[in-house]
């Protein structure tokens, strides 16, 4: 087992907690939406398993995973941007 990766995991847990300690409530939804887009990185997982898929079933499931992951990551960032566009300051 690679302990380096566990080490990084533990550090990331604490960084995740620290980084959003003070958030005004009006940003709760956009923040949730933004982090939702970041876990869209699961698209990579989909790409990697589909690349190695050897049976039609694995190809079909891998394909679904790629579609889901891709919708999560692209849709996630776009919907967050659309929400935040609304926070423009009036000149």
């Amino acid at each position: 087992m690679d302990t380096n990766i566990l080490f990084i995991f533990i550090l990331a847990v604490f960084v995740g907690f620290e980084v959003i300690s003070k958030v005004p409530s009006m940003l709760h939804t956009p923040l949730m939406s933004g982090t939702n887009a970041i876990h869209g990185i699961i698209l990579f997982g989909g790409i990697l398993v589909l690349a190695d898929a050897a049976t039609p079933l694995a190809q079909a499931l891998g394909f679904v995973a790629v579609v889901f992951g891709s919708a999560n990551v692209f849709g996630g960032f776009m919907v967050t941007d659309r929400m935040l566009q609304m926070f423009k300051k009036k000149k």
């Binding site: 956009p30 982090t35 889901f68 999560n72 941007d81």
Partner: protein, 480 residues
Amino acid sequence: MSSTIALIIIGVAVLFILGIKLLSSPKTARTGNLIAAAGMLIALLILHNTHGEYVWSQGWSFNYTLIVIGTIVGLIIGAVGAYSVKMTSMPQMVALFNGLGGGAAALVASLEFIKGAKGVVIAGIALPVPEISTFIAASMLFATLIGSLSFSGSIIAYLKLEGKFEKPMTFPGQNILNGLILLVILGLCGWLTFNATNDHATAAFILLFSLALFFGVAMVMPIGGADMPVVISLLNSFTGLAVAADGFAINNLAMVVAGTLVGSSGTLLTLLMCKAMNRPVTNVLFGAFGSSGGSQAAAGGVAGTVKPIQADEVALLLTYAQRVVIVPGYGMAVAQAQHSVRELSDELGKRGVEVQFAIHPVAGRMPGHMNVLLAEANVPYDQLVEMEAINPSMDRVDVCLVIGANDVVNPAAREEKTSPIYGMPIIEADRCKTVIVMKRSMAAGFAGIENHLFYKDNTRMLFGDAKASLNALVAQVKAG
């Protein structure tokens, strides 16, 4: 993995952290989102597979065609969803995207697990079964369990926000049934962790997958529609953890970092949301059990009478006021009245009236819901004041205009110890000189309890659709 690639991945991790950091301040939030997106794009372009080979230089094959088509299909679904959704339905969209991510995480883990357990047969030749350590098996099972739970739970949350079976759904013995299912799930996980190569592993795995899907439904069904934001935030952090576990399983550092960041920041965000409602997270998740009796009891003894008022009279009050505070709620969102509200506020501003918007942290169906709607209508955000900031000066407000808000201005939260919302911080509208409540009817709010504010001496009710009433007010103010 070469050291250049490792350095780039560290850079990507920094971009994600910076992105989340900037997302927590209104001025920098949009930049933060773009920075995180840029990090994602870089990570995608340098993607390496488990064997340390660069993904995009592996010879072209059918699988790669599938990858490209799948990514484009997902991109189109995501873009159409993100740009066609109405501002009021944003929370649903987030729930849906989160569900898709959870589903993908579960599928990735499943495929890896089955491959690890059964070995791969290519062209009739069985490749040696790859070694699958206990730790890796446990990560895959965790990702499958949490990912599929997040998938089905998010779909239910989506449907609830769309207005399907909004009410909490409970039946006797539900806790026991859910507990039993959870026990079976954990038992299966435990067995599979150490018996991943057993002949029955695939069957047990499919059973685990189905039970996890069912458990996601069973977990969210008993929770009321008003608490869906908290549920979505929780499921969001679940998906993050599932993605991190997938990252362990396929040895992808970027996935571990990104998933973990989302998992921990999402957990904290969930707790912050609960804190804004002054409810412990356990109360939100399991509150539907046994609390249904209390709310009716509190509804009984309301003293005072409801006093209606007409639009022309309200317009007069507003134009002669020095300071007006507007409290928007879900009713404003439903009536799509944000533009009319802004028009009224501009008209009053022109006449020298000081207008502010008092924003309750959980007004609407999602924290920040009101901010987004008012910002859409071009209300400058320095005119939006948070609850804590505005409450101390409420005594000096001449007219408080409550537009489609209910529970967030209910003084029962302060006065009525038996009320289900007792202790929740509220906007103290009742302390203003005059309170005008715009409402369609006398129906109770989302929490299903009577609002004492409507019966106070200084309160007048302006019945009707919020948008129509506001337009009437604008016309009256302009004419006067």
